[in-house]
Amino acid sequence: MKIKLDLDKCQGHGRCYSLSPDLFDSDDLGNAVLLVTGELSDDQVAQATLAANNCPEYAIEVIA
């Protein structure tokens, strides 16, 4: 599984980097920055799913 972050949709609600700081950070404007690339570990999948489930703009997807 991988994370897909769509920065066109991101409005900087900041839910992802608060909930899953190992996977996401914020840039200087408060938008999301992805900290990992490639395949996720099981634990990371759980963290990524949590972030995706709380992003109001549907900017995050966990994809196969």
Binding site: L29, G30, P56
Partner: protein, 405 residues
């Protein structure tokens, strides 16, 4: 309120968000409309549409082609011909449309980004502790008046570099702007004068004595090498005061109101403060304080609703947040909800610029309150009163402290 209004008999066809029934408890009305409408209409305010489903609120918030943010607070009048036109509007960026909106917003994002805001945690916590200390050993306190209202005022004054003592003044400004929606245009303009005089003085003082604060930041900011116009700086300063105070005051108040009535939730947070962040998101969802407005740009048919140019849209983020098609157990408050895409801070390009600040204030306010008062209840349930208008929260909230730590 100066004018007596005719009570609403059917919210589906004669909606009014200032009706006492809506002010007292809007949630059952939203639920009824969701089943029957789901977009209510009203001839009040010159014509208004009220979506109550998440999908419609989201679609309209994201559709800047058909809807303008030129005015986001519903009043009897429309912005006059001499009001600053779209896309800039009176209070950038909230009143701005694309393409100007992105420019006005981008300018301020860094000042409200987590890195900047997190540095205010100590200040916010100190302020909360001082307010609690000032309550002494009173058995009954007013959590809205003695506590919640002071926190956002203290923080925004600190950020803008304004005296902490001016807090009462700011709240009166907010009242003039937000709650005076039904005053005739001329009276509104008159009422607005002290606000204008205050900020003109502040800007002059900052021009003479630049400081390391947001006011100086705005005065020195530029767009493509050009300083911001005075009206832009002025409008943005007022926006920050208006947008930051009643909103967060309401959010903190509603959270305490909930905990006072739900001792099991309070006990869980006292035992495990690490649940506070998810509880805050759930309080924001269930008791979302802010409803915004849009104006219809041109005649337009939205899902069979014949919208006319300059009709209002009442953009109910609180209604979206209670939509059972979008949330499981939408009417229940579940403080450890793990899937919560709530829209309390709006959706799309106008997402609340102050959301990091608001969250910091809520976090410190709740942490300090429940640390000091691990048990409390409503002292007088019928004495609680809520604000009227587009920002909803308790304005009188008598709390009996049952245990002090």
């Amino acid at each position: 309120m100066t004018m007596e209004k005719i009570p609403v008999s059917d919210f589906a066809t004669d909606f009014d968000h200032t009706d006492p029934q809506w002010v007292a408890d809007p949630y059952p009305i939203m639920e009824d409309l969701r089943e029957r409408c789901p977009i209510a209409h009203s001839n009040r305010y010159g014509g208004m549409w009220v979506p109550v489903l998440h999908e419609d609120v989201s679609a309209i918030a994201n559709d800047t082609e058909h809807f303008t943010s030129r005015t986001v607070v519903i009043g009897a009048g429309r912005p006059g011909e001499d009001a600053p036109p779209a896309p800039i509007g009176v209070a950038p960026p909230i009143s701005s449309d694309p393409p100007f909106h992105a420019i006005a917003r981008r300018l301020m994002l860094s000042e409200f980004a987590p890195k900047k805001i997190n540095a205010l945690e100590g200040f916010s916590r100190e302020l909360c502790r001082r307010l609690i200390a000032e309550m002494g050993d009173r058995e009954v306190i007013d959590a809205a008046v003695d506590y919640a209202q002071h926190i956002p005022v203290g923080l925004i004054a600190k950020m803008l570099g304004l005296p902490q003592e001016d807090g009462d003044l700011f709240r009166s400004f907010v009242h003039i702007i937000l709650e005076g929606v039904d005053l005739p245009q001329e009276e509104r303009i008159l009422a607005f004068q002290p606000v204008e005089e205050y900020f003109i003085r502040v800007l002059e003082e900052h021009l003479q004595n630049p400081n390391d604060d947001l006011t100086t930041f705005l005065l020195e900011a530029d767009i493509g090498g050009m300083k911001l116009e005075d009206a832009h700086v002025f409008g943005t300063m007022i926006l920050l005061v208006v947008a930051g105070i009643d909103t967060t005051w309401s959010a903190i108040g509603s959270s305490i109101w909930h905990l006072a009535q739900n001792p099991e939730d309070l006990a869980r947070l006292v035992d495990d403060p690490s649940l506070i962040p998810s509880a805050i998101e759930e309080f924001l969802r269930a008791y979302a304080p802010v409803t915004m407005a849009r104006l219809v740009k041109e005649d337009f048919d939205y899902k069979g609703c014949p919208m006319k140019k300059d009709d209002w849209i009442l953009l109910g983020f609180p209604a979206a947040n209670r939509d059972p098609k979008f949330f499981d157990r939408a009417d229940e408050v579940i403080i450890d909800r793990t899937e919560n895409r709530h829209a309390a801070f709006g959706l799309g390009i106008h997402r609340c610029l102050g959301s990091n600040l608001a969250r910091l204030e809520m976090q410190t306010a709740l942490e300090e309150f429940i640390a000091a008062f691990p048990k409390f209840e409503l002292a007088d349930p019928s004495g609680v009163s809520f604000s009227q208008g587009q920002v909803r929260g308790p304005r009188v909230l008598p709390i009996r402290i049952l245990e002090r730590s």
